[in-house]
Symmetry: C2
Subunit: 201 residues, 2 copies
């Protein structure tokens, strides 16, 4: 890694941590210069604007999410094992963040009423995520693990609901039952999605 | 209403609208003075601090939510009709806001990492809400509409997930299927919660 690349990486790491704590709108070149001990002109050499920096943070979040959740899940066998991996890896992703939580869930609220390039990119990434869930479900249907009449869109909706309710109960309400409830809700979703053939095993 | 009460009401209405648009942290006495054409000293006569104003907005949100969702639902017969009313009134609440959406879902994300009196009050109100859902479910179990072995906590978790996924798909992703998916997910939750006796009807 060249010196320039290394500095760019440090800036993005700092900006990502800051965004996870205070939100992405609070991340500016000025704040970051103070925080990371970098000169504002040094920062400007890498990012021409606050928006360019924010977009780089969103890409960084997407890369980390893909590495921690999507790619390992896709290495599991199609059908139920892959769906279980998707859920387990998402839980791991949440728990591994500082502070714990899914940054995309925070950004989703922060930007839902804030039009612009950051929101547009965020929407693309979230559609990509739901598409990935739907494809994993569809593969499970083709595999025979899941019911042939299962609606992958409804499954993805309910799956997303479990993940969001988990963050809400666990992070906001500090409810010690949050992980067990998320687990039970996911098992219930899976149980009602299984094909008759899979249930007999 | 006295002149003083009327001014206080106007301030809170303005602050509520602003919070729904840009978040509650953006609501300050200075911003509001500019926005509402009120003098800063006039505002200070009613609210001693930004925090006092923010807490008043949170109480206002709670009152509106109670009037639009909770009270009308509790007027319905216990059991399935009351649960259906809770869902339908929540949908109405979301749709009636400007911009559409549940302000508590936005505030939940805004304050989940921001300790202080506003977060504490928000957490109390959200626990109150989940308690209300659990009590409506419990009444449905006692009524015989819902399964005797139903876990009201798990029902409330899954119900909250449906409401959150609806806001995410509808508001962030602008997915036209969001209302139909929320409807289908709620019907599925209800169907698997019904007692055998209720299913026979």
């Amino acid at each position: 890694m060249s010196k320039g690349e290394q500095t760019r990486r440090e800036i993005i790491d700092h900006a990502f941590s800051l965004a996870a704590e205070i939100g992405l709108e609070g991340v500016s070149l000025a704040v970051l210069a103070g925080n990371a001990g970098l000169s504002k002109s040094g920062l400007f050499a890498h990012f021409k604007s606050k928006e360019a920096l924010q977009l780089a943070v969103v890409e960084e979040a997407r890369e980390r999410f893909t590495a921690i959740v999507i790619r390992p899940a896709l290495r599991e066998p199609r059908g139920e094992p892959r769906l279980r991996a998707l859920f387990a890896r998402f839980m791991l992703w949440r728990a591994s963040q500082k502070p714990p939580g899914c940054i995309f869930q925070s950004l989703s609220q922060e930007y839902d009423d804030r039009p612009g390039p950051v929101r547009s990119r965020l929407v693309e990434i979230q559609r990509e995520w739901l598409d990935a869930v739907r494809r994993v479900v569809q593969a499970g249907v083709e595999q025979g693990d899941l019911r042939a009449d299962l609606d992958p869109g409804l499954f993805a909706f309910e799956f997303q609901g479990v993940l969001m309710a988990h963050q809400y109960l666990g992070k906001l309400l500090d409810d010690p039952d949050a992980p067990a409830l998320a687990e039970a809700a996911f098992e219930s979703l899976l149980a009602r999605s299984r094909s008759h053939a899979a249930r007999r095993h």
